[in-house]
């Protein structure tokens, strides 16, 4: 049984175009400023209008990783929300609905009598208080805070910080519409059992995977980002474009993904840190470029924000279906690094680090995320900006460069890494060649040269190890009875399941494979030797990590739990599965 102070789930539903997403973000910010932890998640179809949108915000005093299936407050902007989600209300929970547009009858709520109906004329109050129709969401926010008996002042500060730049008028309208909802509900409901009691705490952010990743890129010295919009990667382009004037980098919305990857390679070749990003469909078009980055030894970072495939698939949903694809994408054989962050902090750190790895290792790095991580948000401790500061590397100085005529840019070296001049730098020149080439880059088809160059490239994977953090991340107690083995955003669900199991008295822990390539064979084997019972959890249908574990480390998990319907896991389901297999 949940505590009723500072622990609840809040859900809002409406049509696409109703603008509900912003509301959840505001509530999450509120709770985070109130010293609590939040996570939120949104579902929406690949339509601009008409489809059903829903957003869930989970709040807790402890750090949480995933939202629950049930909800304590449901805000219904339209009737469909009531029909679809009323059943998920906890006993005693509240249904806040727009009484300007809706009348609730018992059938709509499955004849439930154990919930509180909270009619609020959302639209009326919005319009009356100077807002446009989308401001009904702000009324709902006020209503929510009133239910939770939470101080309004904290919200007003947020309005000030968020809209201050747009002028006092905008702030005032927000404050007024929020207050209208607040006061309306204060009169209506007095003793709602769930409450917010603000706490003192360290400053935290509410941030999503894509924004964290974008900021990681900037912190890591990104100067060039090329992309073609594709859900769920689009917002990286958009955030970076917005921040371009501040941090003086360039974003380029390219004509297609082929251009995007080649643009990034060109910029990187010219000497800046560069990346590109897309989802699986666009990644298909980048695979040839990936190989070119490898053979020309040009640093490159590619983000693949996964969504369910094949083809257009389920554009606005989540899946981990591309692991094997990105591991093997591109003709021929060449080294690459693959990292799959699980949460905003990792997204930030690994994005920053990816630029370092790519530049120093002169090879492609792929950051594998998914819609769940990309577009959900979590209360997150402030990023440590003293870490992962830019250190350039892999360049030849003007002195070392030599007068030419040629520079041996692809000469063999112990590490496989050969320093490169910036094109335009006075001295010997070289050719970056997508053909197999000799030391200065001229096409060369000799057997010995080919083998040398292949080995030089492969060898860099060892050198790169020194730039990597531990490739496995463990969460929870060492001596657990059950271990969840997973990767990417599913780690969040597993961590939440671990929390849930702890309350049932089951000791669980989580093993996240953070770096998929170079695969941490020895570390995995060591971990598996110690683990009592392992459960593989993946958001796909074919257990791709499972196959990799077998192929590389010769280990197999005792059980596996897969899901590939476009939805992230429910921590409850993972916990129940584990319990059922104890």
């Amino acid at each position: 049984m949940k505590s009723k102070v500072n622990t609840f789930t809040w859900t809002i539903g409406g049509a696409a175009g109703d603008g509900i997403m912003v509301t959840g973000a505001m509530l999450a910010k509120y709770c985070t400023r109130a010293g609590l932890w939040t996570t939120d998640y949104a579902e929406y179809p690949s339509l601009i209008r008409g489809g059903h949108n829903v957003q869930v915000v989970q709040v807790d005093e402890e750090q949480i990783f995933e939202h629950d299936q049930g909800t304590e407050i449901l805000v219904a902007i339209n009737e469909e929300t009531v029909r679809l989600h009323a059943a998920s209300l906890s006993p005693g929970g509240a249904l806040v609905y727009d009484s300007t547009r809706l009348t609730i009858n018992p059938a709509m709520i499955g004849d439930r009598t154990d919930i509180v109906l909270v009619p609020v004329p959302l639209m009326d109050l919005a319009l009356k208080n100077g807002g446009k129709d989308l401001m009904r969401n702000t009324v709902a926010l006020g209503a929510t805070l009133a239910l939770l008996q939470a101080p309004r002042k904290l919200m007003d500060d947020i309005f000030q910080d968020t809209f201050g730049a747009k002028g006092q008028k905008v702030v005032d309208i927000n404050v007024a519409t929020c207050r209208a909802g607040y006061e309306h509900v204060q009169k209506l409901v007095k003793d709602f059992p769930w409450r917010i009691v603000p706490k003192e705490n360290d400053q935290r952010m509410v941030i999503g995977g894509n924004d964290a990743l974008s900021l990681g890129f900037i912190h890591g010295g990104l100067k060039f980002y090329a992309a073609y919009p594709m859900t769920p990667a689009s917002s990286i382009l958009i955030s970076l474009a917005e921040l371009a004037p501040t941090y003086k980098h360039i974003t380029k919305h390219a004509e297609d993904e082929i251009a995007a990857v080649n643009l990034a390679i060109g910029a990187s070749f010219a000497g800046v840190r560069a990346a590109c990003g897309t989802s699986g469909g666009g990644f298909c078009l980048m695979t040839e470029g990936l190989g070119m980055a490898a053979i020309t030894e040009t640093p490159l970072v590619i983000v693949d924000a996964q969504r369910p495939g094949p083809a257009t698939g389920l554009p606005t949903w989540t899946e981990q279906g591309d692991l094997r694809f990105v591991m093997h994408a591109g003709q021929g054989e060449f080294p690459r690094v693959i990292v799959a962050p699980a949460d905003p902090t990792q997204a930030f750190q690994e994005a920053a680090r990816s630029l370092h790895i790519a530049e120093h290792g002169q090879l492609p790095v792929i950051i594998l995320t998914d819609k769940y991580l990309a577009e959900s948000h979590w209360s997150t401790p402030m990023f440590d900006l003293t870490k992962l500061r830019v250190q350039r590397g892999g360049f030849v100085t003007a002195q070392e460069h030599g007068g030419g005529p040629w520079y041996q840019r692809y000469a063999d070296t112990v590490t496989g890494i050969t320093p490169r001049p910036i094109p335009g730098q006075s001295g010997g020149v070289f050719i970056a060649n997508s053909d197999e080439h000799d030391a200065v880059g001229h096409a060369n088809e000799e057997s010995d040269n080919r083998v040398m160059q292949y080995r030089k490239r492969e060898r860099k994977l060892e050198a790169v190890l020194s730039f990597l953090p531990p490739r496995l991340v463990h969460y929870g107690p060492d001596d657990a009875d059950v271990t969840f083995v997973t990767w990417g955003s599913v780690t969040q669900s597993c961590k939440e399941a671990m929390r849930k199991l702890a309350t049932m008295g089951i000791r669980a822990n989580v093993l996240q494979v953070l770096y998929l390539l170079p695969f941490p064979v020895a570390e995995v084997q060591q971990f598996f030797r110690a683990a009592k019972k392992t459960i593989l959890v993946e958001n796909n249908g074919t257990a791709q990590l499972g196959g990799v574990l077998k192929e590389y480390a010769d280990v197999t998990c005792n059980h596996q739990l897969l899901k590939n319907d476009g939805r992230p896991f429910w921590a409850e389901d993972i916990a129940a599965f584990a319990k059922g297999h104890m």
């Binding site: 995007a260 060109g266 910029a267 070749f269 470029g289 020149v429 970056a432 001229h442």
Partner: protein, 288 residues
């Protein structure tokens, strides 16, 4: 001060492997001449090459080079220019490479107007893969991939370039290296994306559009009173193909380059930016 450069300073140790008589030799010569006349040092310039007999030039010229993927030279060059606007960039490609596989990049580069020079070896055939149809192959021509004759109407690169928003559109002929040298220099001097289509005889796989075929047809626009600032007129000239084929500058328009309009590029090149003083704490605050 560096010493003045001459054409041979741009030679690589590899002498071209093109077929004897190939029009690529003429383009190679004109390119090196132009760079020498422009007073460039080999290390001042980046040449980005596509894949084809044309792109094989990567092995025969001494400058910084990037021999990219088939059809993808343009985005590499544009990326490099945006990263380092001080770099002089020339792109060398084939007609299959640039108008076939890479057609979409060409289309959008014309609109974008990044300040680079694009030289296309238009031999109306796929040379390196041994003689298949190219986008510019004439109707009815029998090639290995179209043994019953080409059905598609040939692409007119210069007409297309004008319509797609090119700010500098010119045509040269590999058989006239003097004019070609001057056209390359004009293209390089043009502030913005300069497209130079070069009629290039392929002596091995194109027995139709030969040197003599071209000698009978090409004429120099220079001196004909052609007004290359008039888009309509330029388009009319561009459509000429048959009895008469124009060479020279077809169209030119001075407008902002892409670089000029990117606020982040107004000061110094991105590649010169310091990276050790980045501080994102201001942005982080907005998330609290």
């Amino acid at each position: 001060m560096q010493r003045p450069v001459k054409n041979p300073d741009f030679n690589s140790p590899h002498y071209p492997t093109w077929c004897p008589g190939c029009g690529d030799f003429g383009i190679w010569t004109a390119l090196k001449n132009a760079m020498a006349e422009l007073g460039w040092q080999p290390s001042d310039v980046l040449i980005v090459y596509g894949i084809g007999c044309s792109g094989n030039m990567a092995n025969f010229v001494r400058t910084y080079g990037f021999h990219g993927l088939h059809g993808r030279a343009l985005p590499v060059a544009i990326g490099a220019k945006l990263a380092n606007k001080d770099l002089k960039i020339i792109v060398i490609g084939g007609d299959g490479d640039g108008y076939g596989e890479g057609g979409n990049h060409f289309l959008h580069a014309l609109r974008g107007n990044v300040d680079i020079t694009y030289i296309v070896h238009d031999n109306q055939v796929y040379g390196l893969t041994k003689g298949q149809m190219a986008p510019t192959t004439e109707r009815g021509q029998k090639t290995s991939s179209t043994p019953e004759g080409v059905i598609d109407q040939p692409l007119n690169p210069v007409a297309l370039a004008i319509a797609a928003g090119g700010s500098f559109v010119a045509q040269g002929f590999a058989g006239d290296t003097g004019q070609l040298t001057q056209l390359i220099k004009a293209a390089v001097d043009h502030p913005g994306f300069a497209h130079l289509n070069v009629l290039q005889p392929c002596v091995t796989f194109n027995q139709h559009n030969t040197y003599s075929w071209f000698y009978d047809r090409v004429y120099n626009l220079d001196g004909t009173g052609h007004d290359f600032s008039n888009k309509q007129e330029a388009f009319a000239r561009a459509l000429e193909w048959g009895e008469k084929i124009p060479t020279g500058i077809l169209y030119r328009e001075i407008r902002d380059t892409y670089e000029q309009d990117v606020p982040e590029m107004r000061t110094e090149s991105l590649v010169k930016e310091r990276l050790d003083n980045i501080d994102i704490s201001g942005t982080l605050k907005q998330y609290t």
